[in-house]
């Protein structure tokens, strides 16, 4: 049975709802789970702290480490401005230089990154900037999408764009498509063409970008979400990826939606008592944050309520 969770303002609340639902399921697992964050950059810090404490206890990767697999924010010199069609040449150079620095630093680190457990077939960010990989020299999907979205903004031809997987076949799209509005809404392909492995990397197989009314919405598809060891970090990483695309294109930050075709609370790995306690603690933290944000629970929702 599909599980469509109601949209929530913070990524913490989205994660908490999905984790609680999976924890309560008889098998600890769910299929076709949809979570929506209306303000992707908003986070309830105590939820992350609680998740990180369990991860540290068990020797699992921290939220920040998992997030860096989607978007390595530490390598991005965040500029203090966003792209605009009328941006001065000097400011445009700052913005473009920051993106180039991110790509270059990551590719420099790639030979070492690929020696980490699980990275033999490549990494998520590598597939975004050097598709299909696993090494450098591939097609930079991010740069292509940014160029297309900027072109769209220049011509103000905004509208709905759906899944146009220009890079899905591994070939570099024609130049006119890269620079034209047709490519603006294209997603990021993470699955390598011809991949025969049924399990393992990549769990995140596709990132879809939709532009509507000057706002960029991001939709990520996972064929598997390990809800405790990975999902929170994945949401943080995706929200940063979305912020990066918005900054580099000047588009507004829209909603972040994640579809997990299979979601696992990871009872076997972390123990049922531990995950039940974490589900209860984090749900309480989310409720407390909601109460603090809206002292009058009978009033209409004012947090993240966008139409």
């Amino acid at each position: 049975m599909s599980v469509v969770l109601p949209p929530v303002p913070t990524l913490s609340a989205a994660w908490s709802a999905a984790f609680a639902a999976a924890t309560a399921a008889p098998s600890g697992q769910l299929v076709h789970v949809l979570m929506t964050v209306t303000e992707p950059a908003a986070e309830i810090r105590p939820v992350r702290t609680a998740v990180d404490a369990v991860l540290a206890d068990t020797g699992a990767q921290s939220v920040e480490t998992v997030a860096s697999t989607i978007f390595p924010v530490d390598l991005y010199p965040v500029p203090p401005l966003a792209w605009d069609p009328e941006l001065q040449e000097r400011d445009r150079a700052v913005l473009d230089g920051a993106a180039t620095a991110l790509y270059d630093r990551y590719l420099q680190a790639l030979p070492l990154l690929r020696t980490a457990d699980g990275n033999a077939f490549g990494t998520y960010f590598q597939r975004m900037i050097s598709y299909p990989g696993p090494g450098p020299g591939g097609f930079n999907q991010l740069a292509s999408r940014i160029a297309a979205l900027r072109a769209m903004r220049r011509t103000a031809a905004q509208g709905n764009f759906f899944n146009l997987d220009l890079a899905a076949d591994g070939a570099q799209p024609p130049r006119d498509q890269l620079e034209g509005g047709d490519a603006a809404g294209a997603g990021l392909q993470l699955l390598r063409p011809g991949q025969k492995r049924q399990r393992g990397f990549p769990c995140l197989v596709h990132v879809d970008l939709t532009v509507q009314g000057g706002t960029l919405h991001l939709f990520a598809v996972y064929r598997r979400q390990n809800l405790l060891s990975k999902a929170y970090g994945n949401l943080v990483g995706l929200s940063r990826l979305q912020a990066f695309l918005c900054q580099q294109t000047g588009l507004g930050l829209g909603q972040l939606t994640v579809m997990a075709t299979f979601a696992d609370a990871e009872r076997a790995e972390f123990g049922i008592r531990r995950i039940r306690a974490l589900a209860a603690d984090t749900a309480a933290a989310v409720a407390a944050a909601a109460a603090a944000a809206d002292p009058n629970p009978d009033a209409a929702c004012t947090v993240g309520n966008r139409s």
Binding site: T10, P79, G214, T282
Partner: protein, 154 residues
Amino acid sequence: MVTSSVVRHGRGLTEVSDYPTVRVMTADIDWGRLFGRSVASAPPPAAPSAAASSDPTAELARLRALTPAAMERHVAALLDALRQRAGSADALELAEDGSVRVNSMVAVGLLSEIASSVGLPRLTVLSREPHGDLGSVKGLARLVRRCLVQAVAS
């Protein structure tokens, strides 16, 4: 028990959503907070990187001769330069060994810079390294010294 408060990364998010026009992104947005980071308000100045070395052999010899304390200072200086280039204004935290804590991605970036400066594609195989060594300046310094000795020996 967990206590709660909402951290909104990015003042003006509501304005962004309420006014979805082509000019929604203005200079008053705190971009660092959207990325969960504290960043300098001005574009980051150019800072030297370890990869700038013009003589990898000499650099390898120089680094191999460093004492543990000197190597720790070298790694700390590289971390400083990386933070400068990234315009990071995040507060530094201490790891369990008392030296500065390093995020895993930063650690990989630093190790890659050092490898490049001594003319190697990479210093080590991450899956064989103790995770703790990647989490602090002191651990990284220890790892670099060990790897450089092995690089010369092989």
